[in-house]
Amino acid sequence: MLEGRRLLRVLRRTVIQAVPTILGIVILNFLLLKLAPGDAADVMAGEFGAATEETMAMLRQRFGLDVPVLQQLLAYLSNLAQFSLGQSPRYGMPVSELIGQRLPSTLMLMGMALAIAFGLGIALGTAMALTAGRWPDRLLSVVSLIFYSVPGFWIGLMLIVLFSVKLGWLPSGGQETIGAGLTGFDYILDRLKHMILPATSLALFYVAIYGRLTRAAVLEVASQDYVRTAAAKGLPPLAITLRHIVRNALLPVTTLAGIHLGGILGGAVVVETVYSWPGLGRLAFESVMRRDFNVLLGVLLLSSFLVIIANTLVDLLHAWLDPRVEVR
């Protein structure tokens, strides 16, 4: 009861703090994109060959690009207030629809990558800390340092060479076998097979981060007074580790998880390119190249929104794990 109210207060605080952040992001991104030389009309005109001044003006008028920047911003914000992200001049469809098509596959990819990163990272980190200074720690430290140093796109390509080209075990791209008409369990298995390589490429870096973080946190917690108290009670080592060390060590690790979500989303751009994964990242990249700024703004906004939601969840998780968290 009391606990629930405390979590609610934490939630309210986070939401209140998020509003100005989102507004700031919208304005900053909008102005940034307007600074860019060239707009959608330029690119389209360029693709059609030479275009007259009149066609250009007409295109601009149609896309709402002919009024002052400030006015465009206000128009965008008022659209946003009605939960509309505007139209894509390029695809000729509402941005929200376009994003809606791509979002689920990106979310799945990220979800799987995060699960791998968290599960493997925490296990790795705990193992390193418990054997600190001995050979398993040294070996795993080297492994995690290598994971930490490998570019995601490169490991993605190398995994393709190994698992699809040489061994032929896993597909090299896409998110399902097109035209196979699979259903039920086979379909799920097919999707999973397509996800393994991209999710792994995306996750390795974060496995290293969480592993290193967990190692440090476990070592730090293990030196705390209350761990000594637990030992003085006569608790066996396993109980001390599980009840008193790992739970406290998870606190700093979860705090940082929210921060890394933005990074994973950014990494998805590259990995989606490598694996021809039809997700948000690719959409963003394509819209940059085509100066389709409404779509780009939409993607930027949505990804920031995702990060904020994730941060809120992390805050709640943190507040639940750590009773000391109070409303500031």
């Binding site: 209350y226 108290t229 030992a231 003085a232 009670k233 006569g234 109980a239 000391r324």
Partner: protein, 332 residues
């Protein structure tokens, strides 16, 4: 005389970087309060951890034995030792703020020890935890049992620590500077509580402190440590009335608290020159660099604790010689 509850003999603790405790010996009888006194660096806390076998892994303990109820704790296999910790010998620490796990309620932390050693169900353990909180005079124990440590004041946390420590009715409670982090009025309450529990539960108390006032008010016997060695051992009141070792004498003289007549306008306090750091690498008596009565022989080898009268031991050959000469003079 029956065997004491705890008998520590020739305890030496070595780290790769040095030997913070050397050749220490003392005994604790059933129901007795023994104070171990010393300043930081004297090795008193390490001694406590050595008895609990909770020293850091890099430490090496050698000893003639730490005998508790006749069994040598150092020879016990680790699972055996775990059945001693928290059940037969309990310990509380200096910092009540950091000694409790911040993410578990007070009740759960007390219940943990009951379930482990007494096999209580979680419900029974909870009931017993409330009783224990009541025993250590925590107000509204049925509410406090569900509080997290950060909600309690320092004094209350130390009470919760004590409740946890006495949960299984240990025969010996080691209290490592239990009141150093607390305010003076709270300190008085906690010491009062410890002494009451000692009487009611029939346990012995090892009180580790740097405060001679506490020793005088609450201890039966006292062991004075300096730089890892025993300097003097005596009845608490006897020691304060008539300190023999030059270090004990210096400490008492330097302490403003025990003499209300001292005031800065009346003259400076007596000082012990230098610091305990000077004991490092000293082959003889560690106090030699600060000692007003050191003889050349004091520098050659560390003096052993020798009995001067029944229950009165000091490790200072010059003092010993003087006292014996006095006694002989009186006897003649």
């Amino acid at each position: 005389m029956t065997a004491p509850l705890l008998d520590v003999s020739n305890l030496t603790i070595r780290f790769p970087t040095g030997t913070p405790v050397a050749d220490l010996g003392f005994a604790v009888g059933e129901g007795e309060t023994v104070a171990v006194v010393g300043e930081s660096g004297s090795g008193k806390s390490l001694t406590a951890l050595a008895i609990m076998r909770l020293l850091p892994r890099t430490a090496r303990t050698t000893s003639g034995g730490i005998r508790f109820q006749g069994r040598d704790l150092l020879a016990l296999p680790e699972p055996e030792m775990r059945r001693v910790r928290g059940r037969k010998i309990a310990m509380i620490f200096q910092e009540p703020m950091t000694s409790l796990n911040p993410v578990l309620t007070i009740g759960k932390q007390i219940a943990e020890v009951l379930r482990l050693h007494e096999g209580l169900s979680s419900e029974a353990a909870r009931k017993r935890s409330i009783q224990l909180l009541d025993l250590v005079r925590v107000a509204d124990p049925h509410l406090r049992v569900d509080d997290f440590p950060h909600r309690l004041s320092g004094g209350m946390r130390q009470r919760a620590m004590i409740a946890m420590a006495v949960a299984c009715g240990p025969k010996l409670l080691i209290a490592d500077e239990p009141t150093t982090a607390l305010d003076v009025t709270i300190q008085a309450q906690v010491l009062d509580l410890l002494d009451r529990l000692r009487r009611e539960l029939g346990m012995a108390l090892v009180l580790i402190t740097h405060d001679l006032g506490i020793v005088g008010q609450w201890a039966d016997r006292v062991v004075v440590m300096y730089a890892g060695r025993g300097a003097e051992e005596a009845d608490a009141t006897r020691l304060l009335d008539d300190p023999l070792h030059p270090y004990t004498r210096g400490l008492l003289a330097a302490s403003p608290r025990l003499d209300a007549r001292l005031h800065y306008t009346a003259g400076p306090l007596r000082e012990i020159p230098g610091s305990i750091a000077s004991a490092l690498g000293e082959p003889g008596c560690p106090f030699v660099p600060r000692c007003p009565m050191a003889l050349p022989t004091c520098r050659t080898k560390p003096p052993p604790l020798e009995e001067i009268r029944p229950g009165r031991l000091i490790a200072c050959p010059p003092t010993l010689a003087l006292e014996r000469a006095d006694a002989a003079a009186v006897g003649r």
